[in-house]
Amino acid sequence: MEQVKENSWLLNHPKLLEMQSYGLGNSAQIQAALLTYLDLTEVKLWGEVKVHSCQDLKIIYLTAREKEESPVRVVVPLPSTEPLSMEHLSRLHSATRREGESAEGRESAVSEEEEVQEGVTLALVGRDSSILYCQMWPGVHLPIS
């Protein structure tokens, strides 16, 4: 009897195949990106969740809207097993707003007409697939309250 491969449906997920098609070679970060994509679309029910690649930093990142009228947010999935340095974190802001490649072809991550929320959202994905979301701003960002 052929053994059922429980995870085969996930390995053939169209978004995973899309992320792998960019050829970045970072399987841990791609796995974190897929889990974040599924969390945003299936659990948080965010809209317009799009996949983008950043060749500079060799990462997959996402753009999405919480609600229809909300500004676009840049979400960067990061596996907890591959911590970044201050140097890499400081490059995330500019790298994810430059022209990036998406499935629809080479285009800007966000168009100039769209309202983009300041900073980036880091999705820190643990070994147990739990996700911690942190908002990151460049410089000293004073609390609103």
Binding site: K44, L84, S85, M86, S90, L124, C134, W137, L142
Partner: protein, 197 residues
Amino acid sequence: MSKGKIQAVAQGGVCGALVWRAEGKWSQRPVHISAGEMGVCSDVYRLRVEWRVVGGLVGALPVQPRQSGQLGLPLHLSPEELSHLLEKGVLELEQETPPDDVITREQETRAAVFGDLWENGFTLTSGLKYGADYLVYQGDPALVHSCFLALVLPWKQPIATLTSLCRVGSKVVKALLLCSVEKGVVQYQTLEWDPIL
């Protein structure tokens, strides 16, 4: 109000310095800094109010020695606070012990971060209780809560504790401030747990 430079006793190596004087003369009388204290001629008070350097009282109170909730003189100044006050010409070292000849890059980075945040109007104290390097306040620590946990990091070193520090920060309602120096310029990244997500 006493004028002139504040006298401190230097401790060798990276231990900083101790300030003993209160009310214009060497004193072992109990000194407790509290909010609303006015008109006290105390070097410890001057450091806090005029120079936004809090330090840490490390001595036992003679009237209440068997407790550590309230401490008295001397005031301990960290190496960053000491170098900052010497640079500003506020301190006069009463007794010098030979300092370490080698200043590490970490010490240089910490001093640069301390000085830059101080110049931007913040008050800094030790962040040891929260696993960070500094607690950063927008006012006197006796009057306001800190708004940041500051972590001083090498520019190119991976940050292994980012997840745990974000969780600590969210629990104690403080943002995480990552600080580093790159080409002589202090760089910051502010992280805050996202309540929406």
